[in-house]
């Protein structure tokens, strides 16, 4: 039962990831990317016991970032007709290069580690909000504070770049 669910979630995430990069309309790409993020959140919640990350994945990615993408696509009025095309030769060579990269990853990673036991049996409570909060606010307090400065600078940068003309104020 567990294995079938894993197979289902994994195949849905791989197929929707493929549809993200192969669909012609950017709006469809965004919607398939949302589907991919939901399946990944399912992986987090069901098999890895990382409830906090599952919720944050849905809120931050599927909620905030994808809405931003959709908003920009609709603001620029992009559709199938305005989609730039790639020559067939570079498409084929890119796919061959990607296949070779996958081969290298498999060869490097799959033989080195052998851990056949299922992860959901050993997840325990390390993904719960309480445990993660304790680690985040003791061991990783300084990076957490610094990331707030990062967000502030990103916000200022986005506002500054998005303005039409800086001279007019």
């Amino acid at each position: 039962m567990n294995n079938l669910l894993f197979l289902l979630l994994s195949s849905v995430s791989i197929i929707s990831a493929l549809l993200v990069i192969f669909s012609k309309n950017p709006v469809y790409s965004v919607l398939f990317l949302v589907l991919t993020f939901f399946t990944l959140a399912g992986h987090f919640a069901i098999f890895l016991g990382a409830e906090f990350l599952a919720i944050v994945n849905i809120i931050v990615y599927a909620g905030a970032i994808m809405v931003l993408f959709l908003f920009v696509i609709m603001l620029l009025n992009l559709n199938k007709e305005s989609e730039p095309t790639t020559p067939m030769l570079s498409k084929i060579s890119a796919i061959v290069a990607g296949g070779l990269f996958l081969l290298v990853l498999f060869a490097a990673l799959t033989n080195q580690i052998n851990a056949p036991e299922a992860l959901n049996s050993k997840a325990g409570d390390i993904g719960m909000v309480k445990k993660l909060g304790q680690v985040l606010f003791t061991e990783y307090l300084l990076p957490f504070e610094i990331s707030s400065v990062l967000f502030l600078s990103a916000m200022v940068g986005a506002v500054m770049l998005g303005k039409k003309d800086l001279k007019q104020g």
């Binding site: 994994s10 906090f52 990615y61 920009v72 992009l78 990853l105 993904g127 445990k131």
Partner: protein, 108 residues
Amino acid sequence: MNQLTELFAPNLNNYIILCSILFTIGVVGVLIRKNIIIIFMSVELMLNAINLLLTAFSVHHGDSSGQVFVFFIMAVAAAEITVGLAILVMIYRNTGSVSIDSLRNLKW
């Protein structure tokens, strides 16, 4: 049938394979598309594959630090996308297209 489903247990081996495939899809997406927005989405796909693998390893080792790292990666990705989309809107305003081919002023 039973042996076949045995292969798809949610263990670390299968997570390595799944995340490698997702990461490769992201790489291929960056290579084959000319639309800057789709390239951003492919980068997001790669980041998410890495997030999933970090969480799998964190569970495998019983250490919460991996999941805190995933949290930071999400924060940095959100900031990156905000600035990136602002730059994209500015590119569109100046060149009238979202193709990476429109940015060739530095080409000799």
